[in-house]
């Protein structure tokens, strides 16, 4: 069964009307109309001036001819009709010599032609009697049809001028002679008509072409928009893995699609993160809760239970739960951009100095040497609270996990904090230790929430410390990386066994962003060459 048209999704419905409504189509049409306007305007101007010149030339020719007749007349015209005879002879000669020329010579009394002396055409055109200067008229002439061989009458256009001569007849009466000299302009008319029909033809062709082009662009446009629309719909229906296909043309649709894809990646990452978090919450909060419940139930059932002991252990459990819960809440709030105070210029070096001072006694107490390499670094836009929190977490983490379980560690336990300018602007901060280190496989994982490595199961902690650091780094647009810390064999360079290093966490803060560019960050990263063109001064 076929789906009724109105039940199909909007994107498939009534393609043609949508095609005509697209902006691409409208632009094509607007440009077509503009183009045709110019074309016709210029054509008319050129044509009109050419035609006008031709007519002027004809007019001059006719005028000169009449002057010539007048001169001829006055030369012979002193005695009676001799001038007329001369004109008649000359007309007869010209009728043979001049091919396109037409002559009519009539004699008339009181403006009425009554005797045609000589004529190339049928009858005397009405216009010729009254017209002043050059006039247009149609005349009839007989031609031999090329196909049939039969003579036939055709009507042709011509332009002419009229000359009047006055004679005294033998009886003393006034004799009026009218000479009409004309030129056949059927060629000119033909050119004019051809030009007109060409214009119509070109305009028609142009319109068809414009419609086709408009439909093509519009269709292309619609296809890309529909593609995006369908992807978005699929995602709305729950398939988050869908992405918009790029066609590689690098046009604005590719850029848009690329940005949308990047956004979808981000959303997918967040969704996956959320799912992980809820799984982890279920695990990390449920097991202590179950433990508490079991303990309380046991205490209730056992009349001789030491209530104080039960309450004390429960209080510890609850406190830990709350700490986990608070840490999770902080991470979520930091990641969602809430909280964390106003963005101010923070001197990371100064904060680091203060944190060193704060942690130095605790580190010494735990048997660590806390070393600071703090050099002045550019200020970072962000929150002093959050940055200090991140440094505190890193130091807490190092104090907790860089400990050697054996009595005699292979190296003197050291934690080194470095702050300095970052090449290319911004500030960098690192905290490195020479503890047992973390295997490369685990290095990626330790930033994730609730990840606690096997080794650290025995210590207290909720597996959120580094996640919080990571969230704070992301909030500041900073890059965080986990890698090698200090060597276990300082001074020996040849030994590069992966296990011979402690853990190092490096954070690279970006230079303060130009406020306007911030929302474009994703696009700028992904279309680096284009961006470089847009801001030539940025390099």
């Amino acid at each position: 069964m076929e789906t009724p048209a109105d039940q199909r999704p909007l994107t498939q419905r009534r393609f043609l009307p949508r095609l005509l409504r697209t902006s691409a189509f409208r632009y094509t049409m607007a440009f077509f109309i503009l183009f045709m306007g110019c074309f016709i305007g210029i054509g008319y101007f050129v044509f009109a001036s050419t035609l006008g010149n031709t007519m002027k030339r004809l007019d001059a020719e006719l005028y000169n001819e009449l002057q010539y007749f007048a001169a001829l007349n006055s030369r012979f015209g002193q005695n009676g009709m001799a001038g007329l005879r001369a004109i008649e002879a000359e007309v007869a000669r010209l009728q043979i010599v001049q091919k396109d020329a037409l002559y009519v010579l009539v004699l008339g009394i009181e403006d009425r032609p009554y005797r045609v002396l000589s004529s190339d055409i049928e009858g005397f055109p009405e216009e010729a009697i009254t017209a002043e200067g050059m006039f247009e008229f149609d005349y009839e002439t007989r031609v031999i049809d090329r196909d049939t061989g039969e003579p036939r009458t055709v009507t042709r256009p011509a332009v002419g001028r009229r000359g009047n001569f006055l004679y005294r007849g033998v009886d003393g009466e006034e004799v009026r002679a009218i000479i009409l000299t004309a030129r056949d302009i059927s060629e000119v008319t033909e050119i004019r008509e051809n030009a007109l029909s060409n214009v119509v033809r070109i305009a028609g062709f142009g319109a068809v072409l414009a419609l086709a082009l408009g439909a093509f662009y519009s269709g292309n446009f619609l296809r890309r928009v529909d593609q995006i629309g369908q992807t978005v719909k699929a995602i709305r229906d729950g398939d988050l893995t869908k992405r918009i296909a790029l066609d590689g043309s690098n046009d604005e649709f590719d850029t848009l699609s690329d940005n949308i894809n990047a956004m979808l990646d981000q959303i997918e990452r967040l969704m996956t993160g959320m799912r992980q978090v809820s799984d982890n919450i279920a695990h990390d909060l449920r097991s202590p809760l179950t433990r508490i419940k079991a303990r309380l139930e046991r205490a209730l059932a056992d009349s001789e239970a030491n209530e104080k002991d039960v309450l004390e252990t429960t209080a510890v459990d609850v406190e830990r739960l709350l700490a986990t819960f608070n840490a999770l809440l902080s991470i979520t709030r930091i990641e969602s951009g809430e909280g964390g105070g106003n963005q101010v210029a923070v001197d990371v070096a100064a904060v680091a100095e203060e944190m060193l001072e704060l942690y130095e006694p605790a580190a010494a107490d735990a048997g660590f040497t806390l070393v600071g390499h703090i050099t002045a670094a550019p200020e970072v836009m962000g929150s002093r609270e959050l940055i200090s929190q991140a440094i505190a977490n890193l130091l807490d983490n190092a104090l907790k996990y860089a400990r050697w379980s054996d009595e005699t560690p292979p190296v003197a336990p050291t934690i080194e904090m470095t702050v300095g300018p970052r090449p290319g602007g911004g500030a960098r901060l690192s905290v490195m230790d020479n503890g047992p280190g973390v295997s490369e496989a685990d290095q990626e994982r330790i930033l994730q929430r609730f990840v606690r490595l096997e080794r650290s199961r025995s210590t207290t902690g909720n597996g959120l410390g580094l996640s919080l650091v990571s969230a704070i780094a992301r909030r500041h647009g900073a890059q965080i990386s986990i890698g090698r810390g200090l060597s276990h064999h300082p001074g020996e360079r040849a030994l590069s066994m992966p296990s011979a290093y402690g853990l190092g966490v490096r954070i690279a803060f970006p230079p303060p962003a130009k406020p306007v560019k911030a929302p474009l960050a994703v696009a700028a990263d992904r279309n680096a060459p284009q961006d470089a063109e847009e801001t030539p001064g940025s390099a």
């Binding site: 709350l322 709030r333 909280g339 203060e354 704060l358 605790a362 107490d365 609270e385 505190a392 807490d396």
Partner: protein, 227 residues
């Protein structure tokens, strides 16, 4: 001290009122912002403890008009919103301190008592004495039993805070906030180590220890012998 508690959660309020009374304070309780405001207008309190989220009139909206009317009674906000922005908003609205739920009751008592003390003339006081320990803020000298004790600048500030609040319990968080001006919970014992260093300087060679640890709460500087 006479304390006004404005808290809409009846269980939490009962617990608060009982705890504060046991600590020797006179406590009045309001269940919402509107009644809290009218009770505060009646006056006579030494401190307010106000929940930030209240039905009707919220904590900030309750306190702000009081401050505009010139009421300078110190106020402590309690809130489940723990982020810096909220803390800043609370302090801007005229709060003097901010405590995030869930809090340890010992922390609350310590802070409320510190607030009550803040009103005294001791802010311009430049000399402090606890037992035979003397501190002069102007000359930056510390003596115990007449003997001069050298302190690092931070140790001096730590001791100064303890002396200003002598006889009261101060918590680790209070120390971090007031001496270092950071607002977070360090997971390791950073503050304890600073205290033990200070202790080794002021108490070690003397018979009567002044800087005592209060189990589960914090520290107190007092010349009273331990019970």
């Amino acid at each position: 001290m006479r304390i006004l508690v404005v808290e809409d959660d009846a269980d939490a309020a009962t617990f608060l009122v009982k705890g504060l009374r046991e600590a020797g304070h006179a406590v009045d309780h309001a269940l919402d912002g509107t009644s809290g405001k009218s009770m505060a207008e009646a006056g006579g309190y030494d401190a307010y403890v106000i929940d930030r989220m209240l039905p009707g009139l919220d904590g900030l909206a309750m306190l702000e008009p009081r401050r505009n009317d010139g009421d300078e009674t110190p106020a402590l906000f309690l809130s489940a919103l723990g982020e810096v922005d909220d803390r800043v908003a609370g302090l801007k609205a005229g709060g003097d301190d901010y405590l995030v739920k869930p809090y340890a009751f010992s922390e609350l008592i310590a802070r409320v008592e510190a607030l009550g003390r803040r009103r005294g003339p001791q802010n311009i006081q430049t000399k402090f004495e606890v037992g035979d320990l003397e501190m002069d803020i102007l000359t930056r000298t510390v003596r115990r039993a007449g003997k001069k004790i050298d302190l690092q600048p931070r140790e001096f500030r730590l001791l100064e805070y303890l002396m200003r609040h002598s006889g009261q319990v101060v918590t680790r968080t209070m120390l971090l906030e007031n001496v270092w001006e950071y607002h977070f919970d360090p997971q390791t014992n950073v503050i304890d180590v600073h205290i033990s260093r200070l202790r080794s300087k002021i108490d070690k060679e003397f018979e009567l220890p002044l800087l005592k640890t209060v189990r589960g709460a914090g520290y107190t500087l007092t010349a009273e012998p331990e019970e």
